[in-house]
């Protein structure tokens, strides 16, 4: 026992050594996104956003004097790959936290590993099941499909329309949205008079829409993303159907208007405020954040999309938590992410809590309509 001071000294030195090392070591942010494949239009702007802002933060001195290091893998939309990459990020790259998971499928697949290893994970996918029920280590930044559905039904109710025809695709996003459409319908007093499907690579949906035309529907809801909703929109015009058409937030980008052309006029959809940033009143606290992100992104890469915005929100929430935690200690960072309050992101104002790992409310969505080839905010 007489050598106790030697042991103490060694321990102190060791700790000091660790501290010295960690001061120089970067904070590792792991990411797995769908940069190629069918959901690439989501993952591509997400990756660009992460890279752009990590560079930006590092140029300004990093977080608490430590640089950020982004380690990224492309899953191609394959959930199995997502699992492998998440394992690699945790075991080999020893990341401090993960910001990624473009699709709901990818995100759900990695949750067991993330939970087991105890790594803070901020998902960029829409599915409500990611944070419901709440999982200790899992958070997300985009609006859920349930919110989109609620927003659409709310708007329908305001217009006094209750008989609704659904037409959805066969992708994960479509199916998850479809489930919410069915689930929330009674709550809003909606009667579903048709429920049609199509394949996301189909080139013609007139058969399904002809069936819908024969029902007594008062409005059509098409939940999907990619080119299929644009084809649906065109087919509706082609068949001479004049019912109001609602799309999901999945098509809230300029390319939808370009593809659907004239047929897009009058289409309504719930969208993040980023799409109509310029139309917000100057008093809106979100406006400067949106314009700053938009201008920065567009100066470097071209037209902005809401999807890249989710990555911005995720990264900034993580950086905020790292700053408050004062270190990259995983448990502390997790607690701080959960305490995120009043963070103004591109998707809305985030107020997380132990019961809510997303932290957005319904008013984060704006109902927009296509008028003269551009988005117009109507509520």
């Amino acid at each position: 026992m007489k050598n106790w001071w030697q042991t103490a000294l060694a321990a102190t030195l060791l700790l000091a050594g660790v501290n010295l090392a960690s001061a120089a070591e970067p904070i590792r942010i792991g990411s797995f996104l769908t940069v190629t494949g069918p959901a690439s239009f989501l993952g591509d702007p997400e990756l660009k956003t992460l890279q752009m802002y990590v560079e930006d933060i590092n140029a300004k001195g990093g977080v608490k004097g430590r640089k950020l290091e982004l380690i990224h893998y492309d899953t191609g939309g394959n959930a199995k790959d997502a699992v492998n990459f998440a394992k690699r990020l945790i075991k080999n790259d020893k990341v401090d936290l993960i910001v990624g998971g473009t699709t709901t499928g990818d995100s759900m697949a990695v949750i067991p590993d993330v939970e087991k290893e105890g790594i803070p994970f901020i998902s960029l996918a829409g599915g409500v099941e990611i944070v419901e029920p709440v999982k200790k280590w899992v958070f997300k930044t985009p609006h859920t499909d349930r919110m989109a559905v609620a927003k659409i039904y709310e708007d329908l109710r305001k217009r006094g329309l209750t008989k609704v025809a659904l037409i959805t695709g066969d992708g994960g996003f479509d199916k998850s949205g479809h489930e919410q459409l069915l689930k929330l319908a009674p709550q809003y007093g909606m009667t579903l008079v048709a429920d049609e499907f199509y394949g996301n690579k189909d080139s013609d949906m007139t058969a399904q829409l002809t069936k819908i035309r024969a029902t007594e529907a008062q409005a059509i809801i098409n939940f999907g993303f990619g080119q299929a909703p644009a084809i649906v929109t065109r087919n509706i015009k082609q068949l001479g159907i004049t019912l109001p058409l609602y799309q999901s937030h999945g098509v809230a980008s300029k390319s939808f208007i370009d593809l659907a052309g004239n047929a897009a006029e009058g289409v309504r959809l719930p969208a993040a405020a980023l799409v109509i940033a310029e139309q917000l009143p100057d008093t809106d606290p979100q406006k400067p954040v949106l314009l700053a992100y938009k201008n920065k992104y567009e100066a470097k890469y071209g037209p902005v999309s809401t999807f890249g915005g989710h990555a911005y929100d995720g990264l900034m929430i993580a950086v905020g938590a790292l700053q408050r935690a004062g270190s990259a200690d995983k448990a502390k960072v997790r607690d701080e992410i959960e305490k995120t309050k009043g963070f103004i992101g591109t998707a809305g104002v985030f107020n997380m809590s132990p019961e809510d790992h997303m932290g957005l409310t319904l008013d984060a969505f704006k109902m927009v309509e296509v008028r003269k080839g551009a988005w117009k905010i109507i509520d």
Binding site: E196, F197, T206, A207, K211, Q227, R234, Q238, G240
Partner: protein, 291 residues
């Protein structure tokens, strides 16, 4: 009900004629070389994408479409010359795998050139729907139908009336014998690739205003075209046309009358049934094993 049925048929025939054109391309190359060219869908994509790019560059539509068709034919010839010909003498399966690789390569090139976005071509003559006894048809659908009929007639005349066409047909029956009577089999093979690339490109350009195009657009179309060729009896060009129309109508009726969720399943089930009960296709000639 009758109106609905009519609309389903109109839709089915429009989509079906597209499958027919792609299927025709499959049949042509199969005829000349026993090879199923899985890059056929990529020809469709290339035609559409090149036409869109040229149009964006300021070329008038007709010129852009012709140039895109020619360029795709060149791509088809290059594919034959630099991917298929060097593997001469390789087994059919090897060659098929080469065409799959070529398809992936073409998709990659398109991805680099035009990105991942969907692109659209303006309709040839407006997008005001035409009323046809309760059903509505897009003017573009009439273009698709008209040009398909024209192309099918041309291909038929080519095989039945011209010496070149007959020579190509001869290769399909017996390559050694064809060579023996002085037909240059290698030239015929190039001809087949060029022709089917051209047909694919035209199909792509015709359909782009209706369905849009992207670097991946060829995959599904290729699959459907292949199914059309199988239904009709692979190697029988007119069978492929009939198969394509049948597939299109079946899909549309399946989606409209049974369930839109099982639309593709119905179509592919039909392909399986054909293969079960008539392995040579509905219009295929009885296969005689060549020894």
């Amino acid at each position: 009900m009758f109106e609905q049925l009519f609309q389903f048929l109109v839709t089915g025939i429009t989509v079906g004629s597209l499958y027919a054109l792609v299927g025709l391309g499959f049949a042509l190359i199969y005829n000349a070389s026993d090879v199923v060219n899985f890059a056929q869908g990529e020809f469709v994509m290339l035609g559409a994408m090149i036409a869109i790019a040229l149009l964006d560059a300021g070329m008038p539509l007709l010129l852009a479409a012709s140039a895109a068709t020619l360029l795709t034919i060149v791509a088809g010839l290059l594919l034959e010359r630099f991917a298929i010909e060097p593997a001469k003498g390789a087994s059919v399966v090897t060659t098929i795998i080469i065409t799959i690789g070529a398809g992936i390569f073409l998709r990659g090139v398109a991805l680099l050139l035009w990105g991942k976005d969907f692109h659209s071509l303006p309709p040839f003559s407006g997008d005001t729907p035409i009323q046809l006894g309760g059903a509505t048809v897009l003017p573009q659908s009439l273009w698709v139908l008209g040009i398909t009929v024209l192309l099918v007639a041309l291909v038929r005349a080519f095989f039945n009336r011209t010496l070149l066409g007959k020579a190509l047909l001869a290769c399909s029956f017996n390559r050694v014998a064809a060579q023996a009577v002085g037909i240059n089999v290698r030239v015929m093979l190039r001809l087949a690739y060029g022709l089917s690339a051209g047909l694919g490109a035209l199909a792509g350009i015709l359909i782009a205003p209706i369905t849009f195009s992207s670097y991946e657009a060829g995959i599904m179309l290729g699959l459907k075209g292949f199914s059309a060729a199988i239904i009709g009896g692979i190697g029988n060009p007119m069978g492929a046309v009939a198969g394509g129309l049948l597939l299109g109508v079946l899909e549309s009726l399946g989606a409209g009358l049974i369930s839109s969720g099982y639309k593709d399943a119905i179509a592919f089930l039909f392909v399986l049934m054909v293969l079960f009960f008539k392995p040579t296709g509905l219009f295929g000639h009885q296969l005689v094993e060549r020894v």
